[in-house]
């Protein structure tokens, strides 16, 4: 693995920052260099929220991901805004429950995941983020599928430990798609 530059984007409340933090912690546990940079400010409230996550074997220069290898788009404004920034040959993960249109680029690999629909169906409505992350882990081989529970333990606070099981379930649902 050299470096994976990821951009998670959606609207506030979808767990965009949480999903990024989870993968950053997973990288940390595995001894990788990691950085996590959120958008902040008024756009987080109802508008777009995003975070840059970099996993690398080498020291990380700029923590800002403006040319992602991997884009996770969980609402239409995010896909509109970032589709063209993905590097050729990169991967785009689309929550197809919430985004009606298709990706126009032909030089990238696209995965349509009805994450929000599946989350409602499985009664884990707040975990569409982790369903899509499960799929990301499966398709982006550099990330690897070890240490999922250990990383979840780091990002789920002590008083929400009951959510750990549901997060693992969501990751598994994504991985089986």
């Amino acid at each position: 693995m050299a470096t994976v530059n990821m951009l998670f984007a959606g609207f506030g409340g979808q767990g965009i920052l949480f999903a990024g933090k989870f993968l950053a912690y997973k990288g940390l546990i595995e001894g990788k260099q990691v950085s996590w940079l959120p958008s902040y400010g008024p756009e987080m409230r109802g508008g777009t929220a995003n975070c840059s996550v970099i996993l690398s074997d080498a020291p990380i220069g700029s923590p800002i991901v403006d040319k992602p290898d991997v884009l996770i788009a969980m609402n239409l404004p995010s896909l509109d805004k970032y589709e063209n920034s993905v590097v050729p040959g990169g991967k785009i993960f689309v929550d197809s429950t919430l985004i009606g249109r298709k990706v126009e680029r032909t030089d990238v690999e696209v995965f349509y995941i009805p994450a929000s629909g599946l989350a409602s169906e499985k009664n884990i409505k707040t975990l569409a983020n982790m369903i899509i992350t499960g799929k990301v882990i499966k398709e982006v081989s550099e990330i690897g599928s070890d240490n999922l529970e250990a990383a979840l333990n780091k990002v789920i606070s002590a008083r929400h430990q009951d959510m750990l099981k549901y997060n693992l379930d969501a990751l598994n649902i994504g991985a089986e798609l």
Binding site: L37, P38, G41, S62
Partner: protein
């Protein structure tokens, strides 16, 4: 790696301050530094410390003056407009020769500006930033680890020289998370016989004051302070050199822009351009000697900043205008991209060929 944790830069500053023995924090919320105050509000009550959200920035800095007078390690934090409000108190701290740590997690300006990251308070920070003849020590972290380590260093330097240390960060450094080791402590301590702690009938009163109506006396105070500043300039400048051994172009950048510059430098090296980086870690004292040395072997300098080129003046003074200093900048809350910096490196390389 087991002792590494993921933390926001703002939180790392707060935890490092506690590790350094700071038990008094006074602040007022402002984006993008509010996590410092939030973290302190959770931690301080648990360790017998004081967290106080003051009614304003002005009140907070005056509370800092009070605690600093007693010789305890004390801090406040804010972002650009809030630092301007604190500037009167910062001058009083200088006038009273009191040690304290002030954190500025910069946002775009002037005025109320915006809330996105910026380095536009460079002049304010390195030139004292308030009325009177004085300097602050200014530290510019470029990683979450340095947000922690320079906080500890800041308290130590403040104590050593009886003056304000300022952490000059920006919204990116404050908001980003990176692995950080908090296995840090402050090993430096100094006696503070000047502190106002009660005489217990055993000594003369100590007086902490910045009012000197006799000009002869005030002049002596300023002379004495500048003797200390000379020592600081001689002994405390810190910087990092990156790929400077054979560099023909020297990029100068601090904080977040130094990291963007490293990406660009790596790309330029792949294209065969001999370019390196000098990253000032202390902005005051400015690492003049390192830059002057570079001026003898480099053909040009590029200053990469998130302002309209405020640091260029310090670079030109340091290198005594021996070489041209080019500017690559964004402002108002925008961050230069590695591509922008690379384009500037290529342009300067061909121009100076």
């Amino acid at each position: 790696m087991s002792d590494m944790v993921l933390m926001k830069g703002n939180e790392a500053i707060a935890e490092a301050a506690i590790k350094a023995g700071c038990r008094h924090y006074f602040g007022y919320p402002i984006t993008p530094q509010t996590e410092v105050a939030a973290y302190m509000s959770k931690r301080m009550p648990k360790i017998g410390g004081v967290f106080l959200q003051a009614e304003s920035e002005v009140a907070a800095i005056n509370m800092v003056i009070g605690v600093a007078s007693t010789g305890k390690r004390v801090m406040t934090s804010s972002s650009s407009p809030g630092i301007s409000l604190k500037s009167e108190g910062i001058s009083y701290l200088a006038g009273c020769d009191l040690p304290a740590l002030v954190v500025n997690v910069q946002r775009g300006g002037p005025g109320l500006g915006g809330i996105q990251p910026s380095q536009s308070d460079y002049w304010q920070a390195v030139k004292g930033g308030s009325h009177g003849d004085f300097h602050n020590i200014v530290l510019a972290p470029a990683s979450v680890q340095e947000m922690a380590s320079l906080t500890v260093k800041g308290f130590e330097l403040a104590d050593k020289y009886r003056m304000v240390s300022m952490i000059l960060a920006d919204g990116t450094m404050g908001q980003m998370m990176e692995p950080v080791s908090l296995d840090i402590e402050s090993t430096y301590s100094v006696k503070k016989p000047w502190a106002v702690t009660g005489t217990k009938g055993e000594r003369q009163h100590n007086i902490v004051n910045s009012l000197f109506l006799q000009p002869e006396e005030l002049e002596q105070k300023n002379f004495e302070r500048y003797e200390r500043y000379k020592l600081i300039e001689a002994n405390e400048a810190m910087y990092e050199e990156y790929l400077m051994e054979d560099a023909e172009i020297c990029v100068v950048a601090f904080g977040i822009t130094s990291r963007v510059a490293k990406n660009a430098i790596n790309e330029a090296r792949k294209q065969g351009i001999k370019v390196g980086l000098i990253r000032p870690i202390t902005l005051w004292p400015f690492p003049k000697a390192a830059l002057l040395k570079a001026a003898d072997k480099c053909k040009a300098f590029i200053s990469v900043e998130m302002n309209m080129g405020q640091m260029i003046e310090d670079i030109e003074l340091s290198i005594r205008c021996k070489k041209e200093v080019h500017l690559c900048c964004r402002t108002g809350g925008m961050i230069p991209s590695p591509e922008q910096v690379l384009a500037k490196i290529i342009e300067v390389d061909s121009k100076e060929a």
